[in-house]
Amino acid sequence: MEVILNTGRTVDQGVSMERGKTSPEYFEKVAVAFLHPEDAGAVGVGEGQAVRVTTEFGSVVVRCLLGNTERGTIFIPMGPWANSLTSPLTEGTGMPSLKGLKAKIAGAPGEKPTPLEELVKRWRGEVGSA
């Protein structure tokens, strides 16, 4: 299903970031996507279940949280999971496109949210970025 992806701050993202970006709490609060309940239903994903989000720049699996967004849009808190999907193109401004990106969502039964260690391996070129 095609959606618009927005990224940004949340209180939970900020609090857990200050605890430490390698903490379980950061993973729990940031490796998530907020979906409208009807969109989640359309791709067969429930609260807390795995959802795969893909853009032309990458793909990650995150945990679905219901609500807090409009139909046809999803929101992922700023962090390495969101930025696996964002555009590095700045159109001459220095500012990458971190909001309003075209994305696809799909249920990911049997999969778990992409671990931080895998993202680090992707950055190092040790594994592909899906």
Binding site: I4, N6, G8, R9, T10, V11, G14, V15, S16, M17, E18, R19, G20, K21, T22, S23, F57, G58, N68, T69, E70, T73, F75, M78, G79, P80, N83, S84, T86, S87, P88, L89, T90, E91, G92, T93, G94, M95, P96, S97, L98, K99, G100, L116, L119, V120, R122, W123, R124, G125, S129
Partner: protein, 419 residues
């Protein structure tokens, strides 16, 4: 036990200066007046600390500093990036180091309010302090920002509910939230206006047209009568302000969205007093812009490879340099680009010798050749920081630290690079 009062929070650009911190035996026990993020920063300051390492091997500070200096000396095109979560003396020394090494120097504003700077350079900005907002504003517009999540005490201390000299709290202020989705901020204001994704420029332009009496049938999904109503409300207030955030700077249009907002505010001053202020994120990102501007003439994306400063966002900004794979070494100061840059830019950071100066283990430290731990500005060392409205405030040292301040680490690297 000591109760320290008037402590300035080193988290976001609000720089709330009314915190109280209880300290006993060199440990922070509790905070008062702090938002949840600030509280977490103070109470977790000793956790998850970085260790000095070279190539993943723990070393002494001197060896880490020496290796950092060697990398920068030998690099042809280093990048120095970050600066926004440290104090201004460290920022000043980062400029010196960039000059010495012929580096590109960028701060985090290139990925937050860089477009705001670009737009303000085109058409100027009508600005004020947060104190003036508290005392005088009777119309507050939050556009593309979410202070309820990102600048948590902003509405309470400065913009919505505080009693000021001429405004007695929320009942004497009308407040509007314009955004692509309803958030916690929408629930705090009198009116929420939903703008369609990527169409902020259209709505801002429609407001400018409505101000001049043109008929607007619909703009960015907002009915014409609502556009007219907001335009009339803006014209009719005594002191209005737009606070704006990443909803404008990061989405389609970027600096052109801000240009439209700045010009709307300029137009409004034909009728009343109206102002505009970016919601700055990192606690001293404003300071990074100030310090770079004093010393180089430019606020971010400055390159020294010709021996003098050259400014060119898109060419010398960090995300672009990394995405194109141009820099051959990097020093990251008080920032975590691995967490907050698009992954395709992060990859190059992982492939070059990267030095990280940071108090904590970050995702960038996981990619770094050299890690140098530092004291946390505003908790473990003092310094100066600039609030989102450009007002400088003095950060306090709350507890002793075994770590050196960023400014001392940079000073040592500069000594060795220059030797």
């Amino acid at each position: 036990m000591a109760l320290l009062k008037g402590v300035v929070c080193p988290f976001c650009g609000c720089l709330c200066d009314d915190l109280e911190v209880e300290v006993q035996d060199g440990k922070i026990l509790s905070t008062r007046n702090a938002c949840p993020v600030s509280r977490s920063k103070f109470l977790s300051h000793a956790e998850d600390r970085a260790r000095p390492t070279v190539g993943g091997r723990e070393v002494g500070m001197e060896e880490a500093v020496e290796e950092a200096a060697r990398i920068l000396r030998e690099a042809d095109f280093p990048l120095i990036y970050g600066l926004s979560s440290t104090e201004s003396d460290a920022q000043r020394l980062a400029v010196r180091l960039a000059e010495l090494t012929g580096a590109s120097l960028d701060n985090t504003s290139s990925t937050c309010h860089g477009p705001t700077v670009l737009a303000a350079q085109e058409c100027g900005a009508v600005k004020c302090t947060l104190g003036e907002v508290k005392n005088r504003a009777d119309l507050v517009v939050f556009w593309g920002c979410n202070p309820a999540e990102a600048h948590i005490r902003h509405p309470v201390r400065y913009s919505l509910t505080p009693a000021g000299m001429y405004r007695q709290g929320k009942k004497e202020r009308f407040s509007v939230h314009v955004d692509v989705r309803e958030t916690r901020t929408s629930k705090m204001v009198n009116q929420f206006i939903k703008v369609e994704e990527g169409k902020d420029y259209e709505l801002l332009s429609a407001l400018r047209a409505a101000l001049r009496g043109y008929e607007v049938k619909e703009a960015a999904g907002v009915p014409g009568e609502k556009v007219k109503e907001l335009a009339e409300r803006m014209k009719g207030c005594k002191f209005g302000i737009i606070f704006f955030g990443m909803g404008l700077t990061m989405s389609k249009g970027k600096n052109l969205n801000i240009d439209a907002a700045l010009r709307l505010v300029r137009d409004l001053n034909d009728y009343t007093k109206f102002l505009i202020m970016p919601m700055r994120g990192h606690f001293n990102v404003s300071g990074a812009n100030e310090v770079l501007t004093w010393l180089t003439g430019y606020p971010f994306a400055v390159n020294f490879s010709r021996g003098y400063p050259v400014y060119n966002p898109g060419e010398f900004s960090a995300v672009d340099l990394l995405y194109r794979g141009e820099c051959d070494a990097a020093l990251i100061l008080a920032s975590d680009p691995a967490a907050h840059f698009p992954a395709r830019s992060v990859r190059h950071l992982a492939s070059i010798p990267t030095i990280v100066i940071d108090p904590k283990v970050s995702l960038t430290t996981k990619l770094a050749r050299v890690v140098i731990p530092s004291a946390i500005a505003g908790i473990e060392c003092d310094g100066t920081a600039y609030r989102m409205d450009g007002v400088p405030l003095r950060l306090k040292k709350i507890v002793e630290s075994p770590y050196l301040p960023d400014r001392e680490i940079l000073g040592r690297i500069i000594e060795r690079v220059g030797a």
